[in-house]
């Protein structure tokens, strides 16, 4: 049984992370941006799992659980904020939410 080399996982992780970054910077909808963040987190998770598997150590797996927990909490708070924004401004375009400035 041939083993998939770790570099494959890392390249995939980098591609996913890059996509997340691009979406994060260029999309205007808050929910899309939110999803881009989730994508980046999971890209990192993939890299952690790959390293854990390659070196046979549990540290990376434990870290992944923490990231998932944080992401869940973030989703709870973040979506609540998104709903509040929509309530007050009737839009989800991030460019219209720009009152906090100099």
């Amino acid at each position: 049984m041939s083993v998939v080399p770790i570099s494959y996982y890392l390249v995939l992780s980098a591609i996913l992370f890059g996509l997340g970054v691009v979406a994060f910077v260029f999309k205007r909808n808050i929910i899309t941006i939110f999803m881009a963040i989730e994508l980046m987190l999971n890209a990192v998770n993939l890299a952690f799992v790959a390293f854990a598997r390659a070196w046979g150590q549990l540290d990376g797996l434990v870290f992944v659980f923490f990231v998932i927990v944080v992401a869940a909490a973030e989703a709870a708070v973040g979506l609540a904020i998104v709903i509040t924004i929509y309530h007050s401004r009737q839009t989800l375009n991030i460019e219209r939410v720009n009152l906090l400035k100099f």
Partner: protein, 667 residues
């Protein structure tokens, strides 16, 4: 020995009076303020009497009673204790200070009765008494300096008592700043003293100084420097040449203040200090000569200005400067006892003169110019008679207090070992001038025709509270000098004997004794052994008496016999008259040489260049830089969340790149 062991009580009483009146007295009636103010000082006076009684019961041979209360400053080897001491010199000063203060307090209840800030006046007066007693009782020079500065502070506060009057404020500042110049010397003197002797206690430093050989004029050393620096402080405080200019201006203060602070007590602090430090001065002929020369010159110089002044208080002020000069002349020729004696008699008669002048001003409704007085002797007889007695005393008419003390000083200046014919002549001529200007004051004020509008000015004798102190001081101005009466018939002077233990302790009195014995042997060498009657005759017909009477007669001629003569003389000698009237232009010279350059430098260099340019410039410049940087950096905070996201990404990429680069280099 209840008081002697608790000498601090003498100090604490006036301090408590000042605190109570100053903090609580604002809304009190005058009676309560009076009883606190006068009560504290009179209790202090009684404590002094009790302390003296206890001191006289000390075992024979104990010259100084010393008591250390607590350690005040301790830094390395520098130690200052709150320690007080009592000896014969202190006793004389204590009696003079507390008694004259008491009389002035009583007088002030009448004089200040209609003034605003009554409680404040009494609080300041009490505070002054506290500091003056500290100065006198201190057992080390640092504590003495505390009192020295404290009386200066009270002098400033009281000169500027009427603080709504611009001239009073300026006079207060002038007094404070001028004495500060001298006090700078005093401070350096204390430092040099500690540096040399590693102690500031009088007992210790005197013992150490006594072991040092006397310095000769050719080899003036550290003792001379210490003496001269300390004497600089005395020049400022006691208004001697060239720092006397503040005292005449100090007459802006209320008259009781002039009597107490600027005649009887504070200004004599310099004389006391020189007498206290006699073990140092006696070992430095240079310092002694300078003290004597400054004293004699001031005595003469101030008397000449006094000749033409028209303000009754200004005449007395210049007279005070002149008399202080006599005291320094006495100390400078080694006759410390005579100097202190003159200090005491001067406190009586000059205090009286000022209080009487205050009574005249009170009677005239605030008029101080003698040209607008005249013929007052019938209307205010008590003031007239007491002031006449004081004038006889200061002029040196035999039988009155000033005669004895001034005679002793001139005697020592002329025939003592440290004496010099020039000093004697200056003092002698000064005595003649003193007699002239004092009788001029009397004749202008009390004799002749009234030169004021009698319908407008209601002349009235002062209340009892003011006249009683006058009468008491008048009595003292007569009998205060009689301690020295045996001296006239060749017997020892009681006052000098009383102070002898102090001045003999460190071998300082030698000059005076030698002088006296020299004078005695000179008389014997003439082949005639002087009988008491002859000595008396000599003393009563000596040059000082002749000149005093001459001065009286000249004043009588000018101001009673030919009242138009002074004007003619002034016109004939216009230049000289103008010079004297304008006080030798010393104030103007000081203004041109010192004050204006100082102000110019302060304004243009220190204010505009250094403060506004350098300091403000630096601070404002820094603020400007921060402001500019901030206004540029705030543009980052655009409110556009996507630009923040971009910055985060750029940051993350940059950080990663740096880390990879660093990692690459480390590897």
């Amino acid at each position: 020995m209840p008081i002697l062991n608790h000498l601090w009580i003498i100090l604490a009483l006036p301090l408590a009076g000042a605190a109570v009146n100053g903090l609580l007295g604002r809304n009190w009636s005058k009676n309560i303020v009076n009883s606190v103010g006068i009560g504290s000082v009179s209790l202090s006076f009684l404590s002094v009497l009790e302390a003296i009684r206890e001191f006289s019961q000390l075992p024979e041979g104990q010259l100084t009673f010393f008591k250390n209360y607590f350690n005040w400053i301790s830094a390395g080897s520098f130690k200052v204790d709150f320690a007080l001491q009592l000896d014969h010199l202190t006793i004389v000063m204590l009696l003079v200070v507390t008694f004259v203060s008491l009389l002035v307090h009583i007088y002030s209840t009448g004089y200040m009765a209609h003034e605003e800030g009554y409680y404040r006046f009494f609080a300041y007066l009490n505070l002054f008494v506290f500091f003056m007693l500290t100065l006198v009782l201190a057992a080390n020079i640092v504590l003495m300096f505390v009192g020295w500065e404290g009386v200066g502070l009270c002098s400033y506060l009281l000169i500027g008592f009427w603080f709504l009057k611009q001239s009073a404020i300026s006079a207060g500042k002038k007094a404070f700043i001028t004495t500060r110049i001298g006090d700078f010397g005093f401070t350096v003197g204390i430092l040099l003293l500690f540096w040399t002797f590693s102690s500031v206690d009088f007992g210790t430093i005197f013992a150490k100084a006594a072991n040092m050989p006397a310095e000769s004029p050719q080899q003036a050393g550290v003792l001379t420097w210490i003496c001269l620096l300390l004497f600089a402080g005395a020049i400022g405080k006691s208004a001697q040449l060239p720092l006397y200019v503040w005292l005449p201006d100090a007459m802006e203060g209320p008259t009781p203040v002039s009597a107490l602070i600027h005649a009887a007590t504070m200004v004599t602090a310099g004389v006391y200090m020189v007498a206290r430090m006699h073990p140092f001065f006696s070992r430095s002929p240079v310092a002694m000569f300078i003290v004597a020369a400054v004293g004699a010159l001031t005595a003469f110089y101030a008397a000449t200005i006094g000749l033409v002044q028209t303000d009754i208080k200004k005449v007395l002020a210049y007279s005070t400067v002149s008399q202080l000069g006599y005291m320094f002349l006495g100390c400078g020729v080694g006759a410390y006892a005579a100097g202190i004696f003159h200090l005491m008699t001067h406190a009586f008669f000059k205090g009286l003169l000022f209080l009487a002048a205050g009574s005249v001003i009170h009677a005239m409704g605030g008029e101080q110019d003698m040209r607008n007085m005249g013929g007052l002797r019938k209307q205010i007889p008590v003031t007239y008679w007491t002031m006449l007695i004081a004038t006889l005393a200061i002029a040196g008419i035999p039988g009155f207090a000033g005669f004895f003390s001034k005679d002793e000083i001139l005697d020592a200046a002329g025939s003592g070992t440290n004496g010099h014919i020039g000093l004697w002549l200056l003092g002698l001529v000064g005595a003649g001038l003193t007699s002239f200007y004092m009788f001029r004051l009397i004749f202008l004020t009390f004799f002749g025709q009234p030169r004021f509008d009698e319908h407008k000015v209601h002349v009235h004798e002062s209340p009892r509270t003011m006249t009683v102190p006058l009468v008491i001081l008048a009595l003292l101005s007569i009998v205060g000098g009689w301690f020295a009466a045996p001296h006239l018939i060749g017997r020892p002077d009681r006052f000098e004997q009383f102070l002898h233990p102090v001045f003999a302790a460190y071998g300082a009195q030698a000059g005076m004794e030698q002088g006296a014995s020299l004078a005695g042997s000179a008389g014997e060498a003439g082949g005639i052994s002087p009988t008491p009657a002859m000595e008396l005759f000599h003393a009563l017909t000596g040059p000082p008496v002749v000149l005093a009477v001459f001065g009286l007669l000249v004043a009588w001629w000018f101001y009673i016999r030919k009242p138009e003569a002074p004007k003619k003389l002034a016109e004939n000698l216009r230049g000289l008259y103008k010079l004297l009237l304008d006080k030798y232009y010393v104030d103007e010279i000081y203004a041109a040489l010192v004050i204006h350059p100082f102000l110019w430098i302060s304004t243009n260099v220190l204010w505009h260049a250094v403060d506004e340019g350098a300091i403000d410039g630096t601070v404002n410049g820094l603020a400007h830089v921060a402001r500019e940087a901030g206004s540029q950096a705030r543009k980052l905070q655009s409110g556009n969340a996507r630009s923040y996201a971009t910055w985060v990404v750029i940051g993350a990429v940059g950080f990663t790149a740096v880390m990879l680069g660093v990692w690459g280099m480390v590897r």
